[in-house]
Symmetry: C2
Subunit: 316 residues, 2 copies
């Protein structure tokens, strides 16, 4: 039996079939048509899926269902994307349209939830029962796997882990609140902090790294120059890790998970990032006497986590 | 069938039998013997339970099990109280000793978890599936009821909701961290803030309320004087509610529960407190477009929540 996993991103839609062991096959993608309405996009996607499902069925596979990870505020019960700023979608009946177009059972969840489920079932979290996933990208997304199950909250609208305030009255967040974790631990925040630090230190090696063009600063700039010993870069990275650790401490005390999984762009720093965070965690009184340690891990499935996890909505 | 619920508090142990509808009967209590070792206390408790179980059995009731809510760091799987600063307990084999003494199945959980379960099964939360409980007392305790089940975390050591940092580098908390919710939203914090405000305003009505004796300040002082319109008291209460609301916003975004339940000493302020918090919540961008509202409720079981919830560990 195969299941189709779909990961709706900002610029394209990644699709692949996934078997019961979590192995990917027959991938395909669809680019967003600029300016297309949500219904138009979903009709196109439905047609594309139909063709691909037929193709694998012709190879003799059964297809058990279609799982979709979608950014924004998703009602996973009704399968509606209630709101997505990035996609410009409003009350888009995602599950219903794909179900009608393909005749296959269809489920939808938030994209970070899908990544969480992928890592928990088939990735770095597979031996654990309680996991927190943070996607460190443009924003900070979150997923929760609690007592061996994906947790989604009322109407599937929970686990907005990036919008936990860690600094009352702190930095303005895109959500309207001040001091959210996202305002400090997203790649967007890191880039902004990197630029600020560079403007103050014209001798920083980070200027060479971006060939003098501050517009070329990205999430790697500070990390790569920190590895080369640049003091200003080291400070930027250390501050970043300090904020991220604070967020993780909160999740440790709230959930006491076996592990926190980092994914998204910044998780490419792998052990350079997780070692630093684990060291900072160990130095803090996170929790209480005789509480179990929490591991900080990096996504094993990387950019496939969403597709695998979406399909896993059908895999027990 | 009856179940015995036990709520271990700082100065005494409350016990009562609870039926499958959550109704309490045959209550009894045990005072802590000063200076007694943990084993001594548990032996005494076991004997007391045995006598009371025999008595209800003599009345023709069956007793299905003993549920215990215990403060501190509890391993609910092994039934051990790993550490409780208040009780002075260290690796106390609570479940095992009570089981051996009584011959009845015995379960242990953290006291705030027990209160959470009581409210979720038989109290103000019984129509909901996703709930966060905050006990506003000496500290800030927490319980989570997620997807229709009590969530306890790895080794049962989760849900230390009071130790979520809301103000980086803020007030020193008893746990070693700085800026925890507990350092702002506990009764202890409120009393300290009340005293500070009174020292600055010698004309505040709060001085009359405590008959000029600042040692008499308690969690009611600021609230009762705020109701009478005392400006300084109003400011103390407003600041308190602001902090509490910030903590609740975080839990809304993390869990998107149907409701947050307040219990403990301060919840006696009932609608005076919850109305203010709901108003502050509504004024903030908590969450995102099209996310469901979160109710702020007050414990219905009050000081019985722990006993009822402990017994409910056995009631499906």
């Amino acid at each position: 039996m195969l299941y189709l996993g779909i990961d709706i991103g900002g610029t394209s839609i990644k699709c692949a079939f996934v078997n019961e062991e979590g192995t990917i096959s027959h991938p395909f993608t669809m680019k967003f048509i600029k300016g297309a309405k949500q219904e138009e996009t979903l009709i196109k996607l439905g047609e594309l899926i139909r063709g691909n499902v037929k193709a694998v069925q012709a190879e003799g596979y059964e297809v058990g269902g279609i799982g979709i990870g979608c950014p924004g505020s998703i009602n996973s019960r009704s399968g509606i994307c209630c709101f997505s700023g990035n996609l410009g979608w409003n009350n888009a009946p995602v599950a219903e349209m794909i179900r009608q177009s393909t005749g296959l059972p269809t489920k939808v969840t938030n994209d970070a939830n899908a990544a969480m489920l992928g890592e928990a079932k088939f990735g770095v979290g597979k031996q654990y029962n309680n996991l927190v996933l943070l996607t460190l990208g443009t924003g900070v997304g979150g997923g929760l796997f609690l007592d061996g199950k994906l947790y989604e909250g009322n109407e599937g609208k929970g686990t907005e882990l990036g919008h936990m305030v860690i600094e009352r009255g702190g930095r303005q967040c895109t959500c309207g609140l001040k001091g959210c974790l996202e305002a400090y631990a997203s790649v967007t925040a890191l880039i902004s902090d990197t630029k600020k630090a560079m403007k103050k230190d014209k001798d920083s090696k980070m200027w060479d790294f971006v060939k003098g063009d501050i517009k070329k600063v990205d999430g790697r700039t500070s990390f790569e120059c920190a590895k080369k010993g640049d003091k200003t870069a080291l400070k930027v990275v250390d501050d970043y890790e300090e904020y991220l650790t604070l967020g993780i401490i909160n999740f440790c005390n709230i959930f006491r998970p076996e592990a926190v999984i980092l994914s998204g762009g910044l998780s490419n720093q792998r052990k350079y990032l997780t070692d630093a965070v684990e060291k900072k965690l160990a130095a803090k009184d996170y929790g209480f006497k005789r509480t179990p340690e929490v591991k900080v891990l990096v996504s094993a499935l990387g950019s496939d986590a969403g597709v695998v996890g979406a399909a896993a909505l059908f895999i027990a």
